[in-house]
Symmetry: C2
Subunit: 111 residues, 2 copies
């Protein structure tokens, strides 16, 4: 699938990006990208996103140095969500944890 075929949200121009460790398969974070962020990721091999709070393109690690080298990009059947398979050069989470998904849902009686 080509970048031109990706389906960005009509209202926001974004699609969700799941970042997964290419080696361990651990899910590191979830963020959003516009077309420019995907294109820049493809061109540079470093994960780029669109920050909804700062309303601008965002190179992961631009301040922290914790960049992610993108090894591959997978696209779902609808073309409206992607996975960046990465080699992380540091923790994904601003808390210093390796992954942003370091909490469990505790009220899970049925689980």
């Amino acid at each position: 699938m080509r970048v031109e075929e990706l389906k960005f949200d009509e209202r926001t121009g974004l699609l969700p990006v799941i970042v997964q460790d290419a080696e361990t398969r651990e899910i590191l974070m979830m963020a959003y990208a516009n077309r420019e962020a995907v294109e820049k990721t493809v061109r540079t091999g470093l994960s780029h996103f669109y920050s909804r709070s700062r309303m601008r393109l965002w190179l992961k690690g631009e301040e922290s140095g914790n960049i992610q080298v993108v090894k591959d990009i997978l696209v779902d059947c609808d073309g409206d969500a992607v996975i960046y398979l990465v080699e992380p050069k540091g923790p994904a989470c601003h808390t210093g944890e390796r992954t942003c998904f370091h909490n469990r849902l505790t009220s899970s009686p049925g689980l």
Copy 2:
């Protein structure tokens, strides 16, 4: 983290759900859930979502039989995205593929 602490989108009442195979760590699909869908997932141990196209609660496999037994739920640092760790009882994708993410982004010269 408790269900009450999850941050659903103010406009849509939804949050993104990543479905990951609890054993192989393969990412199977991405969908959305409202509070009711998360609560029903917790209560029944089967993955529930909110279908944006059909605008209703959706039990994965309700028609196909391809249910997903939810083993755990992880929450990201912002509380606005979750992972269902599941044991799939059939393919996740309506195409019959095991995962919805069965396509690569082909125009990836830098990757």
